[in-house]
Amino acid sequence: MAMKMVLRGNMATAYAAKLARVEVIPAYPITPSTLFPEKISEFVANGELKCQFIKCESEHSAMSACIGASATGARVATATSSQGLALMHEVVFIAAGLRLPIVMAIGNRALSAPINIWCDHQDTIAERDSGWLQFYAEKNQETLDLMLMAFKICEDHRVLLPGMVGMDAFVLTHTMECVDIPEQEEVDRFLPPYKPVYKLDVNNPMTFGAFSSPDNYMEFRYAVHMAMESAVKVIDEVFEEFEKKFGRNYQRVVPFMVEDAEVILVTIGSMTGTAREAVRLLRSKGKKVGLLKITTLRPFPKDLLKKYLKDAKVVVVLERNISLGFGGAVYPEIAAVFANAARRPKIYDFIIGLGGRDIVVEDIVKVYEIAMDALKAKKAEMVEWIGVRKDEIEVIK
């Protein structure tokens, strides 16, 4: 019988690491992910988790230790946020290139400057091209479930890539809500121990982190890309098996009221729930609105986005990130899905909730109205910032 607990998102990922019987956890604490190493050290001190908990001197060191530990064939996890992830950047790419299935919980937090500890997705979006799988949770149950599934997906020999599970700073990391904690035996049946293809072993010496010349670097990169492509199938399989075993449904892209929708909102993370409320409100007024939640941003769910969005008149992308000098980072990717399509929806981009600015139902309704006006005006493209007080910004002429 699964146990129901009221937990913060950070705690839920710590429980996931415990249930996954993670063997090495190197970590360096940073708000809003600090509760993860805190809870892990408690588990280890209490003897509830047999694991090497390494207190590192920086995030760069923490990820480096993750790489070393994972190369020995151990199951490895860590957690970080924002500047911490940015400091890891160099080694984040190495973890993927070395094909080490490390799983990292991320408390999605804005990047400096100005320094800000609250929620947006800029930190993980900045690591989008690193070769890590990216999952985003909407609620605390998903942080636990996705973390558990991430181990199984990442460790699959068709994938062998690291994965990040993003959860919104404070909105999930520090919010208590009901979470079903599965039984250890059930998790053990779902997630057998990690079997590495190659590992560091004094009795069978190998070289990890070897040099590669122009003559073969592209082949290695292509191999990582192919692994990312095969991850699509593996994710679907694991989501299906998870549902059979634990009864909770996961999809790379989750549709809500899209069947007859003329306008479809695309969201990532915790804003999805608030957007769902907004969709219900708009539906009650007869508006044909639907919602798509992206759970896996990498591998990018091209197939499902095409399937759900192709008949919409307008696709509204809501983004808690900004690629400065362009627009949101997800918007061009969704546009690319339809780049060569004969018939395509109008795609508009909205930047919202940066640095923890609260997203309320009224914001989403406003986004819908702006998008409808743009459609009427036949606007070809649009990147709109929601709720920005433009008149207060200092301009030097």
């Binding site: 290139g97 070395l98 094909r99 080490l100 062998l160 293809v197 190659y198 010496p205 190998m206 070289t207 990890f208 982190g209 070897a210 590669s212 003559d215 073969n216 082949e219 290695f220 191999a223």
Partner: protein, 88 residues
Amino acid sequence: MKITIGATVTEAGSSVRNKTGGWRNMRPVTDLAKCKRCGICIIVCPDAVISMKTREEGPKTDYDYCKGCGICANECPFKAIEMQQEER
């Protein structure tokens, strides 16, 4: 070449197949009559290609891997090692 997972080199000692002696311009030649078998050349060789099995035999340079850097000749206290132009 096999493109392994993570560019892992799956066997130990495979670098012996890379015969770096081909990089050499100058060849160290040891005059065993001048050599006092002190072994300094063995210690200073950055590629560890000089070895000595017996005193009689004296130090031997493995030309498959010697890159001809000349450190041994420079360090030899008895000027027993001469750098000669490599001819191919």
